[in-house]
């Protein structure tokens, strides 16, 4: 019993989304009312079970848990948000929206409600409205880098590369040591045509995370592309290569990338290795 509770607590800590595991762990607890043994944590367990239940589509279980939570916390905003979520789950977006808007009217600063509203709009495909709400949220809470990430992704779905790049820059300002964010920024820059910036950012990725294969692919592609653009400048009007390094450096970089990629694929299985080598030779 107590080990299930511990496992559930661990899953809560790591904020992983594992509905099946949670339900499997929690089912015996709920049936034998072992949840009460968790003491104060019991309500956290109930909330966790609720979210997993609606993830798995077990609406009846979710409703039962919700009733328990409502009896204990009758006027809680946190429980109200769960009502909103279950409405979303069964396909009543308007009710959910009303609930979230009510929550925001009572308390403007409620982050849970703002985020759920944005998630609701995104789930139903109203991208324009989502972006507007997210921008309003970020106007106040501009240190929420996950929100900036979300906004960047939204812009990318609409192929608005400059805006997406701006959002990634905000993320990088707050998390400068995370190589993944630099990678996203590099790829956005590459897609926009800022090859000089893309090259630098790919190099940064490779500096922060040794032998990062995506990084090295990026370096090779960009280095080759810069060489092409230099050879035939008229073909690509959008390309920005003013700050790009000298051809000699480019060659060295391309070589380094090839070398590291070969080393990385050495330990892969044969088909992978062969395909990579073919591509690298070309």
């Amino acid at each position: 019993m107590s080990s299930s509770l511990e496992l559930l607590a661990e899953i809560r800590q790591s904020s992983e989304r594992r509905p099946f595991a949670v339900l499997k762990l929690a089912e015996p607890l709920l049936n034998t009312s072992g949840v009460s043994r968790a003491g104060d944590d019991a309500w956290l367990v109930y909330e966790q079970v609720f979210v997993s239940a609606i993830d798995e589509g077990q609406i009846e279980l979710a409703k039962a848990v919700l009733v328990i939570l409502r009896t204990r916390f009758p006027s809680s905003q946190r429980v109200k948000r769960l009502y909103g979520m279950i409405n979303e789950a069964v396909g009543h977006p308007d009710e959910a929206k009303t609930i979230y808007k009510e929550m925001l009217e009572t308390d403007e600063t409620n982050v849970l409600a703002s985020k759920r509203l944005i998630a609701l709009l995104k789930a139903y495909g109203h991208i324009g409205e989502t972006v507007k709400q997210l921008v309003a949220y970020l106007d106040i809470h501009n240190n929420d880098f996950e929100a900036w990430l979300e906004l960047s992704n939204l812009y990318l779905t609409q192929s608005l590369y400059p805006q997406a790049a701006f959002c990634m820059e905000e993320v990088i300002l707050q998390q400068p040591a995370n190589h993944y964010f630099h990678l996203c920024y590099a790829e956005i820059s590459y897609s926009m045509g800022n090859f000089d910036l893309a090259l630098k950012e790919y190099l940064r990725v490779v500096e922060l995370s040794t032998d990062n294969v995506r990084g090295f692919y990026g370096i090779k592609l960009v280095a080759d592309r810069i060489r092409d653009v230099r050879a035939k400048p008229k073909r690509d009007q959008n390309a920005r290569i003013d700050d790009a390094p000298q051809p000699a450096t480019l060659d060295r970089l391309s070589q380094l990338a090839t070398e590291r990629l070969v080393a990385a694929y050495n330990s892969a299985n044969d088909t992978c290795k062969k395909t990579a080598e073919e591509w690298l030779k070309a």
Partner: protein, 274 residues
């Protein structure tokens, strides 16, 4: 009793009744009072005031400026300049200020803001909770337990302490190591912190030391933390800060750093050509 006290230790035998009826009771009473204070403080502490959304926005805008100034080397020059220009003009015009009209006025009168009043009252209540029991116990000890020696300290002290620690007993020769019950009170005051954190958990309001520091800095602190921060001034300061930031892009010589990292080059050349 103390005739031979020049070179050897003074040896005195104390009545065991002193130990039973003074030493233990003082400690027990202090522990009980501490626990009582802790529970009372929990009852009396009101909920912290809910921040207004415009306050949050103000505070976070300032943080944004700070982050930009701090991490400016991780984004390219153009992006930095863009943000610098935007933030500086925003700070100048007071876009993020809570109430723009108050920008040019002097800071609001402290008393007028009802929310601030609650916070101040809470703070004062907490301080009263700390001071009153201490004073009471000290007076009680002075009244009941003065005029005799209670314990012998294991470490020597200077002569000046004699007056404070042996307050009821006028003897010129007695070693300062022998002290009265008031000093036992002080020892308990500092020592029971560990006991309280065991009984009451980490954050407890039964801490004697915290009260003493609070008493000491009451004058200075009260003024400073109570006054609502003048965000306009803070924004102006941040704007000046940002305008003098020298942007040096971290990725300027990254090619070299990568070559060094992967063993293609032995070290970074600072002024090498690209």
């Amino acid at each position: 009793m103390s005739g031979l006290a020049e070179s050897t230790e003074q040896v005195m035998f104390l009545d065991p009744a002193i130990r039973n009826w003074v030493l233990f009771p003082i400690t027990v009473i202090m522990v009980l009072v501490g626990v009582f204070r802790h529970q009372l403080t929990i009852l009396m502490t009101g909920e912290p005031p809910k921040p207004d959304i415009r306050d949050i926005r103000q505070a976070k805008a300032l943080i944004r400026g700070q982050i930009l100034a701090q991490s400016n080397s991780y984004i390219p020059l153009a992006s930095f300049n863009e943000r610098k220009k935007f933030l500086c003009s925003a700070f100048e015009e007071g876009v993020y200020l809570k109430n723009k009209n108050a920008k040019d006025q002097s800071p609001v009168n402290l008393m007028a803001d009802p929310k601030n009043m609650e916070v101040m009252m809470d703070g004062m209540k907490k301080q009263m909770m700390g001071i009153v029991p201490q004073t009471l116990i000290m007076g009680w000890i002075q009244f009941f337990f003065s005029g005799f020696i209670l314990i012998k300290l294991p470490f020597p002290l200077g002569l000046r302490f004699k007056q404070m620690l042996q307050s009821g007993i006028m003897t010129p020769n007695m070693d300062v190591k022998w002290v009265s019950s008031l000093s036992w009170y002080f020892i308990n005051l500092f020592g029971l912190r560990g006991v309280f954190s065991l009984i009451l958990g980490g954050e407890n309001s039964a801490d004697g030391i915290r009260d003493m520091t609070a008493m000491g800095s009451m004058g200075a602190m009260g003024q400073q933390s109570g006054q609502p921060q003048d965000y306009n001034k803070l924004f102006m300061a941040m704007k000046d800060n940002l305008s003098i930031v020298y942007h040096e892009w971290d990725l300027a010589n990254i090619e070299q750093r990568v070559f060094v990292k992967y063993g293609k080059q032995s070290r970074v050349f600072t002024s090498a050509a690209k």
